[in-house]
Assembly symmetry: C2
Homo-oligomer: 283 residues x 2
């Protein structure tokens, strides 16, 4: 796949945190395809409307995004990259607006909730909910509602030509989202693996819910000194007595030790699938 054919689908308006993730993953600016839902991202990559998709997979405050694990299982795409974005919220206005003149702030309710300390300190600022963080910047720039600001990312401010009036109005500095890059096949254009980047492999498998089944599954990795960096169980609602596990291990799926571990896992689980091998990337 040639570099010029790269189009990255993500959920949200241009300037969303997913857009920032896409910028971190690729070595230069790429075409983007904003989508309304996560399902649309997977559809776009499946039918070649986009070459890649960027999906959030977990957040340090809110946990794993199961919907996207479901999508990874439902569609036949693989993971080729990983990046982490710190969720930083800024107070954004059209250029030249003073802080003192502000009376209302638009953003997504989740973002407003994450800036509660700032909003409580400045009680004159009425929080008003909007569909999307980046979309609220687009709206204040195009419609120019009086005395209004938005709360969104730096990327959103840049894209819509807005000014950042106050940086980092979020309550919690430990708010990070981890994103996966998904595609049908490996492709050029990605940032090289970072210095500290070592390969990881994501796996999904299912075992019957009885004592010791998970322990036997863990043994596949522990007996080969393969380190786990994530494990998460999820009841399988279609098969009530089964559990699904999401596991990330250190190593690449084509390394002999990892291959042997995965063969053993397939033997003892009722279902298993390699979602992809990748290394962390950042620009």
């Amino acid at each position: 796949m040639k570099k010029r054919s790269i189009t990255v689908a993500f959920q949200g308006a241009p300037g969303a945190f997913s857009h920032r993730a896409a910028q971190q993953l690729f070595s230069e600016e790429v075409k983007v395809k904003p989508c309304q839902t996560f399902g649309e991202i997977f559809d776009a990559v499946s039918d070649n409307t986009a070459s890649h998709g960027v999906i959030p997979i977990e957040n340090t405050l809110h946990g794993s995004i199961h919907e996207n694990y479901d999508n990874l299982l439902r569609y036949r795409l693989s993971i080729f990259g990983e990046t982490t974005v710190r969720i930083e919220h800024h107070l954004i206005t059209p250029p030249g607006v003073s802080f003192k003149s502000l009376k209302r702030v638009y953003s997504h309710p989740v973002a407003l909730n994450q800036c509660r300390v700032f909003l409580q300190k400045h009680k004159r600022l009425e929080p008003l909910s909007y569909y999307d963080t980046a979309g609220s910047v687009q709206m204040i720039m195009s419609e120019r509602p009086p005395e209004a600001a938005a709360i969104a990312s730096e990327t959103a401010a840049k894209i819509y030509g807005a000014a950042i009036l106050k940086r980092n109005v979020e309550d919690n500095s430990q708010n990070f989202t981890r994103f996966f890059l998904v595609a049908k096949q490996d492709s050029s254009g990605l940032e090289p693996c970072s210095e500290t980047g070592t390969w990881k492999t994501s796996i999904v498998f299912a075992v019957k819910n009885s004592p010791g089944t998970l322990f036997r599954a863990m043994a596949c990795f522990a007996l080969r000194d393969i380190n786990l960096t994530k494990i998460e169980s999820r009841p399988n609602r279609e098969k009530p007595w089964e559990y699904m596990f999401y596991v990330d291990i250190m190593g690449r799926s084509n390394e002999p030790g990892v291959q042997r571990a995965l063969t053993q896992l397939a033997e003892i689980s009722s279902f298993s699938r390699i979602l992809g091998s990748y290394c962390p990337r950042t620009r």
Copy 2:
């Protein structure tokens, strides 16, 4: 603690899904204390403004709510009950309003997003974001904006005397949220354990991130045939090379086998804490 002294704190307006969870947990109507944030719930129970708190801990689509695991660690409350609420969204209006007359629908953006199929089918209904699902019902009942409906729970419709015009406008019928009941000490007034209810214990522990550490922790349970119903890892951001694990096991913390497993776990982990033993309850 006497029954009449029960006050249950939860996040959201009256009629929120947390309110429904509270109704499922107690054998009769109890006083409620709506809170704006999860932290406020823990504060209210800690300073005795409320006797109990109801907190969402995981959702089938969105995963674990890490913020509440953090609160469980930060505050010294215990878990005494568990219940699961199916997230059902209904189209709600003041009584006597016809579906044909509607032009706009208010709700929290997450709820609007979960009713995308319905909203796409009825494109004349403009989705308008509001701070809270139950709050949007309260608003349409008190302010009566013209040609407007809300999307929220049945509990919200009942509380504000509104009518359900269309039931179950949500896309996904597999949307469930699991709630914990937290308190300082055990208390009367709870629904008895359900017939199928068997005791569970929730534990948090930390181990160093090196191959085999999790495997050794799992051995504490597997070697005693104690079944795990949940496991989830989370990087410890304060100690970069450590992982935190949330584990639910079958059994009560005062059973001899469970006690021995927990003693062994304490021995091999750098930190461990029992969050509580409880059985599922439903009314």
